[in-house]
């Protein structure tokens, strides 16, 4: 049941930085071409759309600090979650559910620690989100190790369970007292992540996420635990022959860490952006995460770059809809094309290398 040669090729081949960026840039160039063609044939004003996209993403301090970076933050958390999992050959496509579980737990705890000082309350809330995410992924990990259930199926199913759980929470036990809106009351000031720049929406979660990216890079490349993750990603047989590595133990840890990262992302979103729990809290960050991680070739530091890139894309797409009437769902099309493009380029590269 291992058979994850696709991700193995992506993760463990360890291409040099140069090739990695070449693939990323090549993919982007092709995508820009495809999207331009699509816009042009759809009768849209391509120049105006491009200008709106750029202005919405980078055109002003507001665009960067209140749109692009705000969207890049959850993408960085879930991108890391997916990247770490794929590195170990764990096909976690449940980052969306883990993020929702994290957000729900964070809000639930955040509403009940009202009155505690910020330095106590905020870490408590973030920890709750982290643990919930880890537990949500842990279910899939346990099902895999105990019963041999493919994590592709289980993490996917858990996404929907999380979605309906949130739907129930915001209409049931956690609903705001008037019972009109399907959402919770707003979190108190003590459990809100502070803004990084006064007057802008970018918040402390970004710093946290970047710190975790550096930590993930350091652990993966410089520590024994990271070596074990990469060895398991290269295949259980390789892991055993590389030394006394217990693939089951490493896999369990990877599920938990991956879920924890996504859960913390949910907590960061709830305490830094939405300040409440509601159904549309994530516009599919957990699915975009796959594009974020793959375009970065699963490299934690590169994920910082691709998260900002996709954050900019989503911020720009919103502006494009507003100013040039181009539907913002176009961003999802671009993300999907990026994934397919990376898969194709990756194949071309391995073929070129004589595989």
């Amino acid at each position: 049941m291992s058979g994850l040669s696709g991700t193995r090729r992506l993760g463990a081949a360890g291409p040099v930085m140069e090739t990695r960026w070449l693939i990323a840039v090549g993919t982007m160039v092709v995508m820009v071409g495809v999207v331009t063609l699509a816009l042009w044939s759809g009768g849209f004003h391509v120049g105006r759309a491009a200008a709106a996209l750029w202005n919405g993403a980078f055109g002003s301090p507001y665009a960067v600090l209140s749109a692009t970076m705000v969207r890049a933050t959850p993408l960085l958390f879930v991108g890391l979650a997916v990247g770490v999992a794929f590195r170990a050959g764990v096909l976690n496509i449940g980052a969306e559910g883990q993020l929702l579980a994290g957000a729900a737990a964070a809000v639930a705890v955040g509403l009940s620690v009202d009155g505690l000082p910020r330095l106590v309350a905020l870490p408590l809330v973030l920890a709750a989100g982290t643990c919930a995410g880890a537990a949500w992924a842990g279910v899939a990990g346990w099902l895999k190790l105990r019963f041999g259930v493919l994590e592709v199926i289980s993490t996917l199913m858990m996404n929907f369970v999380a979605m309906y759980l949130v739907s129930w929470l915001v209409r049931g036990p956690l609903q705001e007292p008037t019972g009109i809106y399907p959402q919770t009351v707003e979190l108190g000031a003590a459990v809100r992540l502070p803004a990084l720049v006064v007057g802008h929406r970018v918040h402390l979660g970004l710093v946290l996420a970047v710190g975790l990216a550096v930590a993930a890079w350091w652990v993966l490349t410089r520590t024994a635990a990271g070596f074990r993750v990469r060895a398991v990603g290269a295949g259980p047989t390789a892991a055993r022959s590389a030394g006394r590595i217990d693939p089951a133990r490493t896999t369990t840890m990877v599920f938990a860490v991956s879920g924890a990262l996504a859960g913390l992302g949910g907590a960061s979103e709830a305490t830094g952006v939405t300040y409440a729990l509601y159904e549309g809290l994530s516009p599919g960050y957990g699915y975009s995460a796959i594009a974020v991680a793959l375009l970065a070739r699963l490299h934690p530091l590169a994920i910082v770059g691709t998260a900002v890139l996709f954050g900019a894309l989503e911020a720009g797409a919103a502006a494009m809809q507003r100013d040039a009437m181009v539907p913002s769902v176009l961003a999802a099309v671009i993300e999907a094309l990026v994934v397919l493009g990376v898969l194709a380029f990756d194949r071309a590269r391995t073929r070129g290398a004589g595989r």
């Binding site: 699915y287 999802a332 898969l343």
Partner: protein, 303 residues
């Protein structure tokens, strides 16, 4: 308030029809050893294709374009997974994202300006004389749009095809032991390509049913995870033709249960019923995976 068992069953079969169509497509792909996460994408493409086709050629045109649109998404999957040999799970996820985004973009680009909700001609139920008069199950099973009867026929044909034909045997061989199949002169890649195209066409048909037999219009993301439910149905039905029929009916009934509980005045959160299919699938997976008859090559690298 009383509950009419016949009406409950009839509504269950109605809900189960698109689920079962997509699930039978997925079953064929999985029996050939490929997990096809692009089925949700094929469904939404089919739904959008149905809208476009129905505008030109009525219900028939709608179904034709729906099937073609579903097969088109599968062609992308075939290209990426079988020709480029990319990971099927990632490719399938990307194709679903692509189809959801593309149909949304096209819908707004083509129809968004009109503002008014588009409606298309729909199929009406046809009662089969004689057997639809049977007590309890008569109207429940035999007063449906013709696609439901096509589904019955297809389920029976598929069961026969799997167990009694060379093609079915070849497909199962590829799913269980691709190397042995290859040694026997079967091309796993070709069999899997056909299986994926069939799965795409069935997903497209299922999406067409949503538009042309249920809702009568298109909405962005209207498949709402039904493609993933189809995947769950295949697992729950333990990769057998009969099992898929049972699982699809169960899922159809589960989504109708909320109305039953509502009419009884029981205060059970409706989200529980919506989450039930997924929870059930997880439970069944945990309970039967060791003994389950999953195709052996499922989840292995596809070639």
């Amino acid at each position: 308030m009383s509950i009419d068992a016949t009406e409950f069953l009839q509504a269950s079969v109605r809900t189960a029809t698109p689920l079962a169509l997509a699930a039978y497509g997925e079953l064929v792909a999985e029996r050939a050893g490929v997990i096809n996460l692009g089925v949700e994408g094929a469904m939404i493409a089919g739904a959008f294709g149905a809208l476009v086709g129905a505008g030109v050629g009525g219900v028939t045109g709608g179904f034709t374009v729906a099937v073609l649109a579903g097969a088109l998404t599968a062609a992308v999957m075939v290209f990426v997974v079988l020709w480029l040999r990319a990971d099927a799970v990632i490719a399938g996820t990307a194709i679903t994202m692509l189809a959801l985004g593309l149909t949304g973009t096209l819908y707004r680009a083509l129809y968004g300006a009109q503002g008014a909700a588009l409606s298309v001609p729909t199929l009406s139920p046809v009662a089969i004389p004689g057997i639809s008069e049977l007590p309890l199950i008569g109207r429940a099973l035999f007063e449906h749009p013709v696609v439901t009867y096509a589904l019955y026929a297809m389920a029976a044909a598929l069961g026969w095809w799997f167990s009694r034909t060379h093609g079915g045997l070849a497909l199962r061989a590829v799913g269980e032991h691709p190397e042995a199949a290859q040694a026997a002169g079967i091309s796993p890649a070709r069999v899997r390509a056909m299986a994926l195209l069939f799965a795409g066409a069935m997903g497209g048909l299922a999406g067409g049913v949503l538009v042309l037999a249920h809702v009568g219009t298109f909405a962005e993301g209207m498949t709402a995870g039904r493609g993933f439910i189809a995947i769950a149905i295949v697992v729950l039905g333990r990769w057998s033709t009969l099992g898929v029929a049972g699982a699809a009916l169960l899922f159809g009934a589960a989504s109708q249960l909320q109305y039953v509980f509502q009419s009884l005045g029981w205060d059970v959160p409706y989200q529980l019923f919506l989450a039930l299919p997924y929870l059930l699938t997880l439970l069944v997976l945990a309970g039967t995976q060791r003994r389950a008859r999953a195709p052996a090559a499922l989840g292995a690298p596809v070639s």
